[in-house]
Amino acid sequence: MFEVSQLSQAHDSVPQRNQLQVNNLNVRLGDLVLARDISFQLQPGQVNVILGPNGTGKSTLLKTLFGDIKTVSGEIQYGNNVLSGKSLIEWRTKFGYMPQDIHLDVNMTVIEVVLLGRLDALSMRIETKMLQEALSILKSIGLEHLASRDVRTLSGGQCQMILFAQALMRCPEILMLDEPVSALDLHYQHVLLNHLVTQTKKQNYTTLMVLHDLNLAAQYADNLLILKQGELRAFGSPKELLTSELIHELYHVEADVLTDENGTPFVRTRRPSAA
């Protein structure tokens, strides 16, 4: 048995979406260079993962695409829309953006938090249709039993899943997730990423997320964006890019990159030898 919204989605053809284009992006904070001459194009229906060492501008890149950080130069374009200060609020309606912070300290229930994903569509009385929609999203990630719980009683990982549901509730065209699995156990890491990949294909989202786990990235990403000191070091499929050399270059860690039976690379790191 399907929920109403899922059923209708199943019948719809894949929605047509635009590509997200970034040209010669430069971002600076004082003297600190956060992004240097970054250019790339993201196609709808693909999962793109940003990889790179800490403090290399991954979150900054997401924030810049969301219009939260001013650029020094460069252009960000989605279809015919160009990101500018004036149309910022309209630009943001296309995004489901899940920031890194998963702290939720507010006297609200899980379903209310999910509903806020679509706050523009909420009226004084919450329509049953909206409640059902929020619940079907919760159900699709296996959390419908939490719907009436106070969010302050949730664990960090549960909060993270709820905030993922909130991002989906926005019916985005572009989905940006900043370390969406940082607090999740093994089970929910795969629940979240699997759902993300399925929905990205089905809804034709342009998905861009930051991950740290190279193996998860290899399993779920169509493309990797490798960032190094504010520059786009490489852009391509995990198969092409994940090599021992690159891992050493980025993280100064020795690693073997092997291949599983599906041809997906997997990374086994080596403990540094005692100094």
């Binding site: 048995m1 929920e3 969301f66 939260d68 910022l88 609020i89 943001r92 309606t93 995004f95 953006y97 899940m98 920031p99 912070d101 702290h103 939720l104 507010v106 006297n107 609200m108 229930t109 379903i111 209310e112 938090v113 806020l116 994903g117 706050l119 523009d120 909420l122 004084m124 919450i126 049953t128 409640l131 059902q132 619940l135 079907s136 159900k139 419908e144 039993h145 719907a147 009436s148 106070d150 302050r152 905030l163 909130q166 926005r170």
Partner: protein, 350 residues
């Protein structure tokens, strides 16, 4: 099977909305009772049925009470009782929105220096002899203007992109100290009689209520309530944190400015007519939060009702503490507010 879970969750949500609706209704009923009690008490006590009949006659229904009762009820006590409701309500609402905006349960127009600024404006007018205008007009105008000046300073800060709520609170507290010092300065250089007059203004009193200023207050407060409710979902989203609200597409700077403006106009209006009444602004939203949570659809109107209820209670008390005399209500609110306040600090929430 699946739709059962959905159905249950929808019902649970509706049930919680109904529960919060009931709390709202109960406070409404409680407020109505205190409103009647407020009209009953005074130098001459009037019994409840006479008050109700007088009110019904006053609105044009076929009831009859003797003329002197009718005069006391409708001309003397009704404007004060209504003023208590609107002023208390606006203080509760102002506190609720300040606390939402700054994400701090100790914020209110009072703690951010708006009330102190109004007090300074009023004192300055009294000191300068009202600049030749009728002092009944000049003092409220002075209070309003200075309240708005302090609010403008907060606006300017709030519109700066990188200024967070923490810095806004600090700036507000700095303003509070500034205007309190300026107020002391005016009192210091004033004659003892004038200083006493200023002190009385600062105490806050509902007895300055007339039908005219009541009408102005009621209009401003009701329009503010209406406007704030328009943004209730955005304000609720703000409670998830500014970053998150932004990620949900809320224009934080615009929402902040709009809400601050509404609260400032409301606070300035109320303060200029009744003087400084503290504590209600901090306490009411905190009680409302415990009772109905932070969904603004319930939180905001309930903050209004609780504020109105507390001020009506204070109004009754101010009349009965010293029989035959009117105790300054600004003093009473602090005294009944403090136990609540301690309870809030000590009681473990959630």
């Amino acid at each position: 099977m699946l739709s059962d879970v959905v159905q249950q969750a929808v019902e649970a949500q509706r049930k919680s909305e109904k529960r919060r609706g009931m709390i709202f209704t109960s406070f409404g009923a409680l407020l109505a009772a205190y409103f009647i009690l407020d009209i009953m008490t005074g130098p001459s006590m009037i019994d409840a049925s006479s008050v109700i009949y007088a009110l019904l006659e006053w609105v044009g229904l076929p009831f009859q009470v003797d003329a002197s009762t009718q005069v006391i009820v409708s001309n003397l006590r009704l404007p004060i009782a209504l003023m208590a409701i609107f002023v208390g309500g606006s203080l509760g609402m102002g506190g609720a929105e300040m606390q939402t905006l700054l994400n701090n349960s100790m914020a209110s127009p009072y703690t951010l220096g708006m009330a102190a600024a109004a007090g300074f404006g009023a004192a300055l007018m009294l000191y300068t002899g009202s600049l030749g205008i009728d002092s009944n007009l000049a003092v409220p105008i002075g209070a309003f203007v200075f309240c708005m000046i302090s609010a403008c300073f907060l606006f300017a800060l709030a519109s700066v992109r990188h200024i967070g709520s923490g810095q806004l609170i600090l700036a507000g507290i700095a303003l509070l100290f500034l205007f309190q010092s300026l107020l002391s300065l005016v009192q210091f250089v004033s004659s003892p009689e004038l200083s006493q007059q200023i002190l009385f203004w600062l105490f806050g009193s509902l007895s300055k209520a007339t039908w005219t200023n009541l009408a102005i207050t009621a209009t401003v407060v009701m329009v503010s309530l209406f406007l704030l409710l328009q943004d209730s979902w955005k304000l609720t989203a703000l409670k998830l944190g500014e970053e998150r609200a932004k990620s949900l597409g809320v224009n934080i700077v615009k929402l902040r400015l709009k809400t601050l403006l509404i609260v400032a106009v409301m606070t300035a209006t109320v303060t200029s007519f009744v003087g400084i009444i503290g504590f209600i602004g901090i306490v009411s939203p905190n009680i409302a939060k415990i009772l109905v949570g932070e969904d603004q659809r319930f939180f905001l109107p309930l903050s209004f009702l609780i504020g109105a209820f507390l001020l009506s209670t204070a109004s009754v008390l101010s009349k009965v503490i010293v029989p035959g005399a009117l105790f300054p209500i600004g003093i009473v609110t602090a005294i009944i507010g403090v136990p609540f306040f301690f309870w809030l600090i000590i009681a473990k929430r959630r």
